[in-house]
Structure formats: C-alpha cells, structure tokens
Amino acid sequence: MEVTGAEIVVRCLAEEGVEFVFGYPGGAVLNIYDAIFKQDKFKHVLVRHEQAAVHAADAYARATGRVGVALVTSGPGVTNAVTGIATAYMDSIPIVVISGQVPTPAIGLDAFQEVDAVGITRPCVKHNFLVKDVKDLAATFKKAFHIAASGRPGPVLIDVPKDVTAHLTEFVYPATVEMRSYNPVVKGHSGQLKRAVQMLLEAKRPMIYAGGGVVLGDAATQLTELTRLLGFPCTNTLMGLGGYPATDRQNLGMLGMHGTYEANMAMQHCDVLIAVGARFDDRVIGNPAHFAREQRRIIHIDVDPSSISKRVKVDVPIVGDVKNVLDDLIALLKQSKEKNDAAALNAWWTQIELWRSKDCLKYNRNGNIIKPQYVVEKLWEVTKGDAYVTSDVGQHQMWAAQYYKFDKPRRWINSGGLGTMGVGLPYAMGVQLAFPDAQVACITGESSIQMCIQELSTCKQYRIPVKVITLNNRYMGMVRQWQEFFYGSRYAESYMESLPDFVKLAEAYGHVGMRIDKPEDVEAALKEAFSPALKERLVFMDFQTDQTENVFPMVEGGKGLSEMILAEEL
C-alpha cells in the first residue's frame, strides 16, 4: 500500500524507537504534523522556540545515549535551529533534525520561508541530506540515524520539501545500512595497543586524561577499571566529568582553564600521558608550545583520527571505539607480567598530594553574602550527588563543574565546545522527559536563563518539574571576570540591568518561585525545592550571590597549563 511521505517520516521515527520529537510546526511541515496527529508511537513536545527543540533533543541524547530528534519548519525554523545544531556538533552529540523545505519546484526561487538548509548547516553537521524523491525518504532516515550514532557521533539534518511529504510510495524500512564511503573504525590496532601497554608499564609519572569520548562511548566502567588496575591519577575534561568517579581519591578533578591545581600540574609534569576520548583543545591544555616544553610520551585513543595529532603531536595514536580499546588494553595489562615501578609511582603520588594540599577550590565561607560555590556544594549534598545537572555557560557553569562531584557518566549536561548560553533550561527539559522520576537541576545565571526563558511555558504544558538554580550576581559573570583581569575593570555592557522579578516571572508561568538572599537560607530552600511536596513542580530559585566572586584557578588564554592564577594569590 502506498503512503505519503509524511506518513513515512512518522513511521521511520517509530522504527527507530523514537520516544520524543521536540518541534515547532510551520507551513512546510504541516503534512508531517498531520501524520504526527494520527499516530501514537512517540510523543511530540511543542517548544516555544526552535533553538530549544534542538537543545532538548541534544540533552535527551546526552542523558540517554539514544539519538535525539527535533522537527522544525523551513526558513526561520531552520535558522533558529542552527545554534542548537552547532552546539550538538561541537560536543559530538547524536541528533537527527528534520527540517521542512519549500516544495521542490519552488527551491531556488526565493520562495516564502525558503532558506538553503543544507548549505546553511553544512559546516555544523556531521552530514546532511536534501530528499528530493519520496522513494529515497526511508533509506535516508535509516542512514541519518546510523551516521548520527556511529563513529564520532554528531548531528544529521534531513531537509524534506513539502511536496515530498505529500507524494506517495510504498514504505519499506531498510534493515541494515551499507555505505562504501562511511565505515568508522571500531577496534584499535593490535600493534599500537601493545606499544601503549609497554609505555604505560614504563611510566614513572603517569597521567590519565579522559574526555567526553568516555561518556559518549559508554566507557566509564572500562576507564574506572583501567585507572584502578594501574593505580594512576586520572583527570576529566569538562565534557568528561562523571567518566571516572569524582569522589574517588585517584581523581584529580577537572583540568584546563579552570581545572584544579593538581590536575594541571600533573598534566604538565607527567612522563607518560594517556588521552582517552579527549582532544587537547585550547581550554584544556592552554598554549600547546608551553605544554610541549616538558618531555612526555603520549598515547591517544580516539574514534576520530582527525582529533589525533591536531594540536599536540602524539607518540602512540590508537583509532577506535574507546570502549573496545580500553577493554583490549585492560586484557593486555592483566596478561602482562611486568608491573610499574612502585617506588616511582609512590613518589609521583606524594608529589600529587603536595599539589592537592593547596586546596585550590577553597573559598571564603564567612560573610553574609551567598557564595555561588556554596550553593553548588549544598545542591550536591541535598541531591546526594545523584542529580542530573544541566548548566548554561559562564561562571556558574565552571562552579557547577568544580563543586558538583559527578560519580556517574551522563549526569552532567552542558555546552562545552560551543559554549552556548541559553541551553540550560531546554537541556533540563530533555533530561527530565527522558527520566521523569530523576532529580534534574539546571544551574544557571540570570543572564543565560533569559536566553531561552520562554521554555518555562513548555515546562508548564508538559509538567516538567525541573529545579532552576539561578546564581544571580547581576553580571555576565565570566565577561565581568575577564574585564576585571584583562580590561582594567572596565565593565563594558556586562551589567544586567532591569532584571525581572524572577519569583513573579516563575509564578506568571505557573511555577513556584523562590528568592534566597542569605547564606543560612540556602540549604533549607534547596531541601524544600527537592522535597516531595514540590516533586511535581518546577521551582525557579533566584539565589542572590556575591557579585565580585571569580572562578579560580584560572589559566589565562594563551598561557601555559601550569601558569595558573590561584584565589589565594590575589
């Protein structure tokens, strides 16, 4: 029996086991929305802005490991989605975005709501398709989901002209995908694995540096086993938090621009470094020339060959799925009769403990102004370290990363690569829908939250009871911090004037609002927000925090990793 293209779109999504489609209707996708109306396989979530649809799909993917799906209309629907797509691309998140397009005969004629969706998204997708023939629709969906989820994951856009959604054909969903041009490497090269094992066993000052690839590749168990087997120190990148338990003694915390003193010093001074699903980016190792001043041998495991030797030359590249490669490494290490030089390893740990004893994350706990760090610490306590935490971008993001100790992967949801302000609330929506019973906290700032605040309405409609933790310092805090350090405290346009009364705003959207001004009220307020009485409600918490607090340690842009500014030095 022949069915319409719109029907095929809906059936493809059902075949892929899609639970949620985040979207916003418009002219070019009306046929698809009509088909959605008639089905019950997945739920459509109506956002208030297309950017939020893509962010929510992205967060769903980050939290569950499954492909997230967003649906937008042509023209402005697509352009609004671009920020979301680029955000997912920078963090290698598997999503499929379906965009409507003007009918094929109108393409190129500057039709109403026409934009070259494939062209405009090309630099920020893993791949994209324009489907001109209804007969290609099902195979394209199969390919799109396969490409998004396999290898180094990423967003895939499918642009579907309106007439294609009306045309008729038989629906056959392919069982498998064969692509001669796309076959990601899965297993690591055995020779390289052996060289890596040898290098690890010879290490006197070893370091494990684990990134988002560990989380995305579901290799946290393997990373933990390897780290414990070797007895090496481990650091996680911003994207890798939760890949190794943060509360474990072998974890040195996050590294990089706002990493801990011990993690950055150990990175700089190690003699053997094993990078796992990480990419040595500028926020992580600072100035590559300074990093290269110290002699060290580097093993780099990554599914994407182009991530290897991009910014830092490595000695043993291993291309493959992180989980498989770690499994193989663990097996080889267990077989090996050699062991690491215990005395050298002990001396290294003694050095690391000395660095750790600087207690670089300490802050002033006295005074009657709420310290933002304190709010995050209390959140960790109140949620027993078991919440899903989303964040926006800026100082609050760094404090969340530093003070919420993630022991599990896929719990920390943030925009690491693109640094997109506004993701926090739609991210929280995507996570809460995937895990209705989980505690979901969105740590945000008064500036970031206003970039997608319209989604409070979506949260009301679908009864999404996330807890919004706003660290309100009346500044774009990170901008203000840079202006203080590097621009002679000239706070150009970083002050947030005319803020709304967030309590009233939350109430206007039908939620619970709270304003917290004193440190002694922080814990009680958080307990109340996460209490059974408010379990079904979105609680918007406006914490009035210290305006002058800065994020430490800090490695200035262009500086070396060991050239940190510590709080105590100011």
Binding site: V118, G119, R122, P123, K126, H127, L130, I147, M179, R180, S181, Y182, D304, P305, S306, S309, K310, K313
Partner: protein
Amino acid sequence: MVRRHIISLLMENEAGALSRVAGLFSARAYNIESLTVAPTEDATLSRMTIVTVGSEEVIEQITKQLNKLVDVIKVMDLTEGSHIERELMLVKVKAVGAGREEMKRTADIFRGRIIDVTDATYTIELTGTGSKLDAFLEAIDPVFIIETVRTGASGIGRGERSLKA
C-alpha cells in the same frame, strides 16, 4: 616544511559534493591552489584533484578531515609517491606582424597547439605540469596575452599506484 601537495579523492557523485570539500577548506583556513572535479567511468563516483600548500601537520589534518566527510570514499596524497601531473591551459594571444611567427615558434617549443586562428590572434592549447604552463606564460611578452584559462591540475599515481573505490 611547507610544500605543495596534490590530493586526489573519490567521493559519491551527489549534489553538494563539491561544496562539502570547498566548505571544509574555507572553514578550516586551508589553502586551495586549484580544485578539479568530474565524474569517473563509474557515474556514481566523482574524482577530485586538489592542489594545496601546507606543512606536514596541516596536510595530515587535511587528509584526515577529507576522509571524515561522510561522502568521501578514498583520499590519496599523490605527492607522497611517484605520480603524473597534468594541467590544460588555453591562451589567447595577439598574433600580428613579426610577433605572429615568433608566437608560433614559442608555442612549438612548448609543444603547444594552435587550435584557433584569426587575422590577429592565436589560441594556443598547452598541457603539462603547472610549472611548465607558468614557464610558457613567462616566455611570451605579457602585452600579447589577451586571455588565459587553466583547468587546474589533475594527477594520477604511476604504475601500480591507483585510487579505486
């Protein structure tokens, strides 16, 4: 060391294939000296030849990034081994008076062929490596040149060396 490289690749002959490659080069600030593209004997495949300039590290990234494009099937740096490089140039020149005979002689020396003649002009077809074509342009007085058009380099590996899907 910054060197000139000729990179050949095979990709799916689909709409937008060229823009994926061109977009990659501009987005990552890689140089393109020339880029040629045409279908192969298998109409589902496009073969592209890209001439670029970069350090070893940059060329390594270029080949890796090209390989990462979902539509790209194979990538080969021809300059890594022995290879043949050819480029076609058409030059329209003024050919009047004494200069007319001189122009023909120069074309002959470079094994160029005159493929169009008027009272006042010759159009010369010339094939060779890029540097040979450059040499021809240097050998003739620039005031005689009316128009030049070059295809950009194509290349192929010598002997057993080949790029197949």
